[in-house]
Symmetry: C2
Subunit: 410 residues, 2 copies
């Protein structure tokens, strides 16, 4: 079963916003066993939308359309679909009740413009949008399906997960997909591929392995596909073969990112963390604290950008920096031990390096980074050499630190 | 003159990576006065790419294609374009010299696979790719243009800016576009629109105003378009009318984001900054330090997530938190003044709030945030009420803090 995604909006064509809707939808559909064969962005233009919708319904089993559903005059999707399906606009009871519920909850009066949001083509089925006033509309046409969703990302994602994908799975009797992520760090994709080749070749035919590299980390994803109702393989039973070859590089399982893994692990173990960041500038802390519940384990952190702050806030000795430099094993060790003790945490992370583009020397070129983690009893330090791309160095250092922490945790 | 963008790659269709290439290219083309009418993503599939290229050249003046140029067998763009334009693959001297230069600089041997990167269709012109081994290929066909670029984002962006856009402008004699950004904060888009309507209506016809809202901030963008060679309006001469109506909401000009504005302003004024973040968890610091040169002004910061860290690292008094709570004007004031003094900075920022989803109370519901900025002589605090979406609260608080700092700066 294959799908075309159509995202409507002038703001996408002028590059004002990044089209995250396409990747979110592609990701969710792929996870659910459906193949996205094409995604198209068009502007708020009647003819362009019509041609694109028409083509999508010719070439695919389903077309999912986002955008153009707001109450303003730019938003023409509903009118266009009404004409495309040769239908008429009628007030949907379901959609009206939803608009009223949302306005009531906010204490607003319902204006005619808002009430008009409940108008939908007579031939469609309304899928209730719990998070907003724009209706989600499902059209059946010659064994194919078109779904129109609002373009607001959190409404779209909620509708995809809770309304659209379950109904597509039911309609097209799609295969069951199960997945497992294994997070690997500290080895390049091609070396990893060579290392685990014998295991990869031994995988059953209905199981696919993907390498998803990001910022110094590789996410291995196993995906198994079965016709609905048949027995499902247990993906965990395949793992011992992988661990036999690559256990020293595997950091964890069942998470999308290393920050998610650290977050869940510290909560599960009831341990606390403090951070002392120089070259990462707060990135290690902000990824953890972006996740709900971080206060259970995150004590706090110091962004020790200047040498004075390393000394006064973390207790790094003046001589240490004078003798060895701010980017040195001695300094990162005092940073990590200092922040753990001063902030009263079980574990700590520290980074110091030259993110560039300036500040490099022949001995310590741009991209030189020291990373450290420690517990009460043990400190581990590591020297890294990244390139001269600032954001990449920040992102790789961040993943390196999370990975070292995971290895230190009991 | 209108353009279709085609991004090739299976990784885009499974939602593994977000298609930032489309938005970067759209943005650069729009800035250069060209209209993007459609962007299409297709997989590494011969027929799909052929059909999409063919359609793009029928419907647009130019088609820009990214991806599928690597040395592996998945990458079929070059072979396909060779057949599409009925040409043959030949070794390009320009491309070979470039591949050799890059391998020499890395000290690698040139293998046959790498040398094959210099093969291009005979009918194309090679635009030199200074940053990578994949060639950028320009095809003229019946008054239209197709350009094939590598999909690696930083190579693509460099080629767009330095090779492709200048050559498109020359070929199609496009209009000149000039732009000016004005950053506005603390007023919603619709209120702002009402407030400045008289000024907006008075703008000359060749000047467009766009409202670009993001995380509690609105970027106003003025765009003027002229035929090449005619006199250009001076956009700055239009600003007094805007300031007359909305000066109290205008934070700055000529930047894309408030973090960029703060970064440039502090460097220009030679002033230093320290941060004390609770609910923003390091986000304020990491956006500043992601920019090259931040060490000129950023002393450091404290991420004071737990109450103990607020006390021991920032000197917030135990009674202050006990009497007023961690999310209070009294606490944020002691945080901002404490961090400025302890880290020896000219200015400081502090945040404390309940980002949620947990931790709210009837008196202080989720989304309650205190923000403060201070200099040696003055402290300003502000209470905000955001909603229950954690990341949105973090992003809005961040922009609120930058904006308050800009207003405090002399």
């Amino acid at each position: 079963m294959n799908v075309t995604i159509i995202n409507i909006g002038d703001e996408l064509l002028i590059g004002q916003v990044v089209n995250t809707n396409a990747s979110t939808m592609s990701h969710l559909l792929t996870e659910a066993g459906m193949a996205v064969t094409r995604t198209v962005v068009v502007g708020d233009n009647y003819k362009d939308i019509w041609v694109t919708v028409d083509e999508a319904l010719r070439e695919s089993d389903a077309a999912l359309v986002t955008g153009g559903l707001g109450p303003t005059k730019d938003d023409i999707t509903k009118k266009l679909l009404c004409e495309y399906f040769d239908s008429e606009l009628v007030e949907s009871e379901v959609a009206l009740a939803n608009v009223k519920r949302i306005f009531d909850s906010r204490g607003y009066e319902l204006t005619p413009v808002n009430r008009a949001q409940a108008l939908v083509p007579k031939c469609c089925e309304v899928l209730n949008n719990d998070l907003g006033t724009a209706p989600c509309m499902w059209f059946n046409t010659d064994g194919k399906v078109l779904v129109s969703l609002p373009g607001v990302p959190f409404e779209m994602e909620w509708l995809m997960r809770n309304r659209v994908i379950p109904k597509l799975q039911e309609t097209f009797k799609t295969d069951v997909i199960i997945k497992k992520n294994i997070l690997v760090q500290g080895i390049g994709e091609s070396f990893l591929s060579d290392l685990i080749e014998p295991w990869e070749l031994s995988l059953p035919e209905n199981i696919k392995l993907a390498y998803l590299p990001v910022a110094g980390m590789v996410k291995l994803r196993l995906t198994a596909r079965f016709p609905n109702g048949t027995n499902q393989n247990n993906l965990n039973s395949l793992l011992p073969g992988l661990y036999k070859l690559a256990s020293q590089h595997i950091v964890g399982e069942d998470c999308e990112t290393l920050d998610e893994l650290v977050h869940k692990t510290l909560i599960a173990k009831g341990k606390t963390l403090a951070t002392a960041e120089s070259c990462t500038g707060g990135n290690i802390a902000r990824l953890l604290t972006a996740q709900a519940g971080a206060s259970a384990y995150f004590r706090g952190g110091v962004i020790a950008y200047s040498n004075e702050v390393k000394e006064c806030t973390l207790g790094v000795k003046h001589e240490t920096i004078a003798d060895h430099g701010a980017v040195s094993e001695e300094t990162v060790r005092e940073m990590v031990e200092g922040v753990r003790e001063r902030l009263g945490a079980d574990y700590a992370i520290a980074t110091t390096g030259i993110a560039g583009p300036g500040g490099g020397t022949p001995e310590k070129p741009v991209g030189t980074v020291w990373v450290a983690v420690c517990s009460k009893d043990k400190t581990v330090t590591q020297l890294m050499h990244y390139g001269d791309r600032r954001q990449q160095t920040i992102d790789r250092t961040t993943n390196q630190a999370y990975s070292m922490l995971m290895k230190l945790l009991p």
